[in-house]
Symmetry: none
DNA sequence: CCAAAAATCCCCATTTATAGGGATAAATAC
DNA sequence: GTATTTATCCCTATAAATGGGGATTTTTGG
């Protein structure tokens, strides 16, 4: 059968949850693919899997394996395996991932199967996006501190500058990023791996 | 075989994600159970499933289907089906659920299979544990709106209440959660799947 | 039915944040 | 070597958040 080409192909499934990996594996057998299968249950095992095993062509990864270092991790993975195809299975809050196909929790059985088939049997090049680091070093420091939940005053004390300076930096940050809410800055900082969510002040 | 007793038993799988339901179904067949199977992909369909179909004995539910009304929903389910057994499959940050077995993303294949077997073949009463100070429905709404980057005033307008009420709710939220910064509330809301990070106001 | 919890609203005072408008010294870029 | 960005600081005024004290009505549980 046509799918036999996949019988030597290396596929890695990265999901912390055994049940979820099992679901993916079942789908693979449903659409008639029996590849060399590798499983990873963390970002670390995923990366070591990719580095130890050559030519992993298909990577099916749960977003929570990547989160919160999503973008950085994807860059790593893309660097290590430039020709790997990426399928991201989102659970709950998800964001589009450059150069990857997305399956969300809202996809029906039909949609999921179609996306899996497309993933394996079609190969359109994905778009690469613009990753801009437009903040200055000091602005980044201020952003980080504010996103961690510190007030302007506290940020000033932490960075040994006047509160006026903090406010100035924040004006620039707001203008450059187009983000004016603290909630938005926090999400931005977490998503860009500037802060760890568990470090955010209560 | 011994499992044949389950061939008439009614089991409901509630998970938004088709892949996850598929994983659960595969496990059932692995441990040799072929029950009357019902699937639900939301809290609503779960509840209607339970009310329309009598004697659903086993309910396997993803935590995200319940959240954020977790405890309330569980109470509802327990009320409607007092003798139903509950297996909660957590994904990501999870909290203990009174009267239910828990499967977490850290469980290995072995542990998952054992827990499923225990779930179906043994019936110890579950321990009820400390009900961590959870937020009321309205408080959750306020938390979500604030975490999305809306000011108290905007939140009041969105929820059709006075700003004083918003402030009152926020006081309760701060007290219950021990989180006083907007950054912290945002992280909490994202981590508990109350909001999607991409929805946070810039 | 009664007690507790939840949801709604109000006042006051203080602290922070935001939105304008600026300025100056030092480093970077072209 | 001049132009630009960066980092620092200041002022004013308004808007918003916080912390403290309340109150009332409705819902919910036992």
């Amino acid at each position: 059968m046509m799918q036999s080409e996949f019988n030597k192909t290396k596929v890695c499934i990265a999901d912390k949850h055994f049940i979820h990996r099992l679901g993916v594996k079942t789908i693979l057998s449903v659409i008639g693919i029996e590849p060399d299968l590798y499983e990873a249950d963390s970002l670390e095992t995923t990366l070591s899997c990719l580095s130890e095993i050559n030519d992993v062509k298909y990577l099916i990864v749960a977003q929570d394996v990547l989160h919160p270092k999503l973008n950085k991790s994807l860059r790593k993975i893309k660097n290590q395996n430039p020709n790997a195809k990426l399928l991201v299975v989102c659970d709950g809050p998800c964001q589009a991932v450059p150069g990857a196909k997305l399956i969300t929790e809202n996809d029906t059985r039909q949609e999921v199967l179609e996306k899996f088939q497309n993933f394996f049997f079609h190969s359109e090049p994905e778009s690469t996006d613009n990753d801009s680091a437009l903040l200055s070093e000091r602005e980044t420091e201020v952003l980080k501190t504010v996103a961690l939940g510190y007030s302007n005053k506290e940020t000033a004390e932490k960075l040994f500058i006047s509160i006026n300076t903090v406010i100035s930096h924040r004006k620039n940050i707001t203008e450059k990023l187009g983000i004016k809410t603290i909630a938005g800055l926090t999400v931005y900082a977490v998503m860009h791996d500037l802060i760890k969510p568990e470090d955010v002040k209560a």
